[in-house]
């Protein structure tokens, strides 16, 4: 793929970054990506990103976990090997249900949490030993990096970003196939 030029503006404070994002959006420039050392509240909204759907996925995973717990306990304790615990050998799932509630709860949480993390990694295209995508290692420490595509408006963008409080502005060639 053809190499394209991007501008990297570096900030040292999340509040400055937030107001910069608002200014840049107000000037109708498209922000490709922002790299931050920690999650910045409200940044996704300011960038105009679509709201996350992970909560919906999480709810569905939770329902799966609940269903697995119900079916599993029904098989283990009622169908396959009924046991008399505390004088309750009723062979009925419903009558023994209170004993299974902790398991139902735990498996709901277990499924929701683990599958949500796995979904997040898959959607973000992350896996073990993957080469890091962030263009500047300082974004893992105390710097914030905003990446904007350049379409022949270098000088205009540079002066705009300078005004918003960027401490460093670099123009780099970005190879799309590099990651």
């Amino acid at each position: 793929m053809e190499a394209s030029k991007v501008i990297h503006a570096i900030y040292t404070d999340d509040d400055v970054l937030m107001s910069a994002v608002k200014t840049v959006k107000a000037e109708k420039h498209h922000i490709e990506e922002i790299y931050t050392p920690f999650p910045v509240h409200g940044l996704d909204k300011a960038m105009g990103l679509a709201p996350t759907r992970i909560a919906i996925a999480s709810f569905m995973y939770g329902c799966v976990g609940l269903a697995v717990a119900i079916v599993m306990m029904n098989f283990i304790m009622i169908k396959d090997w009924p046991q008399d615990i505390g004088g309750k050998p009723s062979f009925s799932y419903l009558e023994n249900m209170p004993a299974f509630v902790p398991i139902m709860f735990e498996l709901t949480v277990f499924f929701a949490a683990h599958l949500m993390v796995i979904t997040f990694y898959l959607r973000s295209r992350m896996w073990p030993f993957k080469k890091a995508e962030n263009p500047d290692p300082r974004t893992t420490d105390d710097h914030f990096l905003m990446e904007i595509a350049v379409h022949g408006n270098e000088s205009e963008l540079t002066s705009l970003l300078k005004e918003t409080g960027a401490v460093e502005i670099n123009i780099v060639d970005k190879d799309e196939d590099a990651h």
Partner: protein, 463 residues
């Protein structure tokens, strides 16, 4: 930001009180119309469906069996019996008749006590929430402090009312107050109650009650005083004092709240005990209190009196409503499951009574206090929709009224329960009083605690 209780609200509250007094009065008259002379007719009238106890309970709450169960409430059957009274005279009562008579006479007292405690526990729950905000130096909530202070003004009157009802009702509510329960050889002698009489005795009950109430009211008095003094102060001295007394209050509260729950609620079943009952009662009062904060805040906001309260504050309150509802369920279930599983006769009777005679309120409460908040308030966006929070709040409050109902009624009226005129009258009476006192108190000071050092942070609170 000034607020004065509107005439419409005042009139509505007074009408509620008047209707409530009429309802409560009717309840007492109705219950007292059943006497030793006509009790057997009343029981016969109750049983004329031929369904035994089964028909009795279904009649009482008028659910799906209403048609086959002759559709008579106890009030009606009582007056029905009145007509046929005199046909046959009765000398001594059977044990069953005496028991039934007690339950019929206990009902108006219990209805009054349940409603009084319900509104009192809302105010006390808010007081604990308020103290936590100070002790944690929370930055999001100071814009809501005046609303909370308004609600907590009901702690003292509400608590005194609960104690007064307990004093008047005596053995109508607390069976351990019957004559002779601790005297060996007396027909009412109860070895278990006698063994607990070092704690469970009338003098101790009221001394403890006054100490609890005194401590809570003192904290409420001084925290309100410092909060108002902070408004026009040029340093943070009053805020620091409030921080200190709040931390001290929370320690006092968590012990006394627990003891209060043994005294005022758990002791209606003096043979039964549960070690986490105090926490369970706490969860109920906490979630009801937070719900009322949210509802009153939304009400005042709709009158444009709280412009400084934004969607994020409502969102946070709704998150608490959601979270504490689940916390309540967790405690309720922890208590239930251990007792259900171990199946020890002296413990499990508590739940056997409730599942047999109180099926609808017992499981209905679980739906209202757990399933509804869980599903309604799970979505993040819904927590910001004011009318949605109000609707969820109404369900939660009804659920926790039924919760209090399930604490008291099985011990005092047994299967002869109903939600009829005495119960609704009591709710109206104390609901009206609650609204009157709370909104009158809200009108006394500016609705913004403007001197609080966190007030700027709170106004700009954004989630």
């Amino acid at each position: 930001m000034e607020y004065k209780i509107s005439n419409r609200l005042k009139i509505a509250a007074i009408v509620m009180i008047v209707l409530g007094v009429l309802g409560v009065g009717y309840g007492f008259m109705d219950a007292n119309s059943v006497t030793e002379e006509n009790i057997s007719d009343v029981i016969a009238a109750e049983h004329h469906g031929g369904h035994g106890d089964d028909a009795l309970t279904t009649e009482a709450h008028g659910d799906e069996h209403a048609e086959e169960a002759q559709g008579e409430s106890h009030g009606e059957s009582a007056s029905h019996a009145e007509e046929s009274h005199g046909d046959d005279a009765h000398g001594g009562m059977t044990e069953h008749e005496e028991h039934a008579l007690h339950q019929i006479h206990n009902r108006p007292y219990s209805a009054l006590y349940v409603a009084a405690f319900f509104f009192f526990m809302i105010a006390l729950g808010v007081l604990a929430f308020y103290a936590i905000q100070y002790a944690a130096q929370a930055g999001w909530s100071p814009v809501l402090f005046r609303v909370m202070e308004g609600i907590t003004s009901y702690v003292l009157p509400g608590g005194l009312i609960v104690l007064a009802i307990a004093f008047v009702a005596d053995s109508h509510l607390f069976i351990w107050l019957r004559e002779g329960t601790t005297t060996v050889g007396h027909e009412n002698y109860d070895a278990l109650v006698a063994g607990k009489s070092g704690w469970l005795n009338k003098t101790g009950f009221f001394i403890r009650g006054l100490i609890f109430l005194g401590g809570w009211s003192l904290y409420r008095h001084f925290s309100r005083k410092f909060s108002i003094a902070q408004d026009n102060a040029d340093d943070n001295r009053n805020f620091k004092k409030n921080f200190r007394i709040s931390a001290a209050f929370l320690v006092f509260y968590i012990y006394t709240e627990s003891m209060m729950s043994w005294d005022w609620i758990m002791s209606v079943d003096p043979h039964w005990f549960s070690t986490l009952f105090g926490w369970y009662v706490f969860a109920s009062m906490f979630v009801s209190g937070i719900t009322v904060i949210a509802m009153i805040t939304i009400y005042l906001k709709s009158k444009n009196l709280l412009e400084f309260v934004n969607d994020s504050h409502i969102h946070d309150l709704a998150k608490f409503m959601f979270g504490i509802s689940i916390f309540w369920t967790y405690l309720w279930f922890s208590q239930f499951m251990l007792i259900w599983y171990s199946n020890i006769p002296e413990e499990v009777t508590y739940f056997v009574t409730r599942i047999e005679d109180y099926k609808l309120p017992f499981f209905g409460m679980l739906a209202m206090n757990f399933i509804f908040p869980l599903l309604l308030l799970m979505n993040s966006d819904y927590k910001r929709i004011n009318w949605f929070v109000i609707m969820a709040g109404i369900v939660i409050l009804c659920g926790h009224y039924v919760d209090v109902f399930n604490w008291i009624m099985p011990a005092t009226v047994g299967p002869r329960w109903s939600i009829g005129i005495p119960e609704i009258g009591s709710i109206l009476l104390f609901g009206g009083l609650f609204l009157l006192i709370v909104f009158w108190s809200l009108g006394k000071e500016s609705l913004l605690a403007k001197g609080n050092p966190f007030i700027k942070e709170s106004e700009h609170f954004h989630y």
